[in-house]
Symmetry: C2
Subunit: 238 residues, 2 copies
DNA sequence: TACCACGAAATGTGATCACAAATAAATAAA
DNA sequence: TTTATTTATTTGTGATCACATTTCGTGGTA
């Protein structure tokens, strides 16, 4: 593995209303989320500043924020890297997701009225559309939007930032997990969740969310499969 | 409530080996944790820099990091404040703690050998000592150390940062919660937890942790009690 | 060939400065 | 006295620079 492998970051137009730091932050966040940066690859402030065509200052702030969200890792030597994934860590992240997200879903349930339910149904339909088009990126985005909308139905909710941190750490795997949706579409977990919501059945909702997450990551059920995927993802990233 | 109420931050000696940013970070973190900064009070970079006798730069970085950990809140106007607590939010934070920490405990259980168990027993004894001395600050610190040691027994654990974020948001309430330990010492939940560990009983361990957390915050069982405490804490902070 | 030492380049940290936006203060109008 | 409006001050953002530490490349030694 080349230590100086080139970093290919998708650049989006910068909105003038947003600060440079925020733009850099979301740009780097997407890069991590899409697996565009190799795990273990050292990220230097000046290099990123050059790539993004900004001064080092906003990059510093964005890196520190991402590190605080566990998306990046600050090593003892003060180097910043994308954390390396292991089979065990992957497993822990999945279990944490299942635990936290079914909790968040159950806590949101009492707040979901007909209007919000309709909104969720609409979001689910959008996922299906992206599914039909085979648009992986949109599937991931819309799937996250569905979950986010569900959890934030609870106006006092405090777990979404924690959940997003887990999503961020799962990063590139999220995309692949969502692509697997069609492979187990025989059991549509989102529909199950929506049914549970209409019945106000908290336990059924938790089960649906848990299954949704678990089945999505079933591809990495064994350490061998996960290892193969990590290797493949690394190869794709180059 | 005075908008320009003075900020009283406990200053500790700066270790030369540590960066200024890290020192500022932990100093501010403690200030938040101890409720030394009033919720809603605007924190300005330059003011803190003056108080801490450093340049604005390390303060900027520390504030951003604390905001990423949900310890501080960046408002739309780019002002940084300590988030205000509400009864509902408090309730959500407690439930999130119970959920996440019992999960973390159960996941750590398989990794706890006799050596680690002995360590936990020793830590528990230290809590009792602080309890006898009535040293509130030490009780909090050692209590957190006990929980942290338990969860980190799992070498692949990923939830501790999330748990610490919740601790940080609960902030000043943690201290009071721990002071309540003696009031329900008839049922020592840590002992219950240690027993469950020796029996390798995951469910019992989860129950013990859940009870430990729940009973600690029982003082804020009703919105009225919580409201009273918030008012009192605000008065004390001045 | 493998290992170590030394010098050069690169990097993170922190300070200072400029500027635009936001807040606070002061003045004018009702 | 209260409310608008203008002016003055403060504040966050971002750029640039200096310095100590780390990393890397080169050459020499076992």
């Amino acid at each position: 593995m080349d230590k100086k492998s080139p970093i290919q970051i998708t650049l989006t137009k910068r909105d003038e209303a947003v600060t440079i730091t925020q733009w850099v932050y979301s740009t780097l966040r997407n890069a991590v989320m899409n697996g565009q940066i190799l795990p273990g690859r050292a990220l230097t402030i000046r290099e990123l500043a050059t790539i993004l065509d900004v001064s080092p200052m906003p990059v510093r702030e964005a890196l520190r924020q991402l590190a605080a969200e566990n998306a990046l890792e600050i090593q003892g030597n003060r180097r910043v890297i994308v954390p390396k994934m292991t089979a065990m860590k992957f497993s822990e992240l999945c279990e944490a997701r299942i635990n936290l997200e079914s909790h968040a879903a159950a806590r949101a349930l009492p707040y979901i009225d007909n209007e919000k339910l309709a909104e969720l149904i609409a979001l689910d339909k959008e996922i299906d559309e992206a599914q039909d088009n085979g648009d992986l990126e949109q599937i991931t985005i819309r799937n996250q939007r569905f979950h986010r909308r569900l959890y934030t139905a609870n106006p006092h909710q405090v777990t979404l930032p924690l959940i997003e941190s887990l999503w961020l750490q799962l990063g590139p795997f999220m995309k692949l997990a969502n692509s697997r949706l069609k492979e187990h579409y025989t059991i549509d977990r989102h529909n199950e969740a929506l049914e549970a919501i209409t019945k106000k059945d908290a336990l059924a909702l938790q089960m649906a969310i848990a299954s949704d997450i678990r089945e999505g990551f079933a591809f990495a059920g064994t350490p061998e499969l996960l290892y193969n995927f990590i290797e493949q993802a690394a190869a794709d990233a180059i």
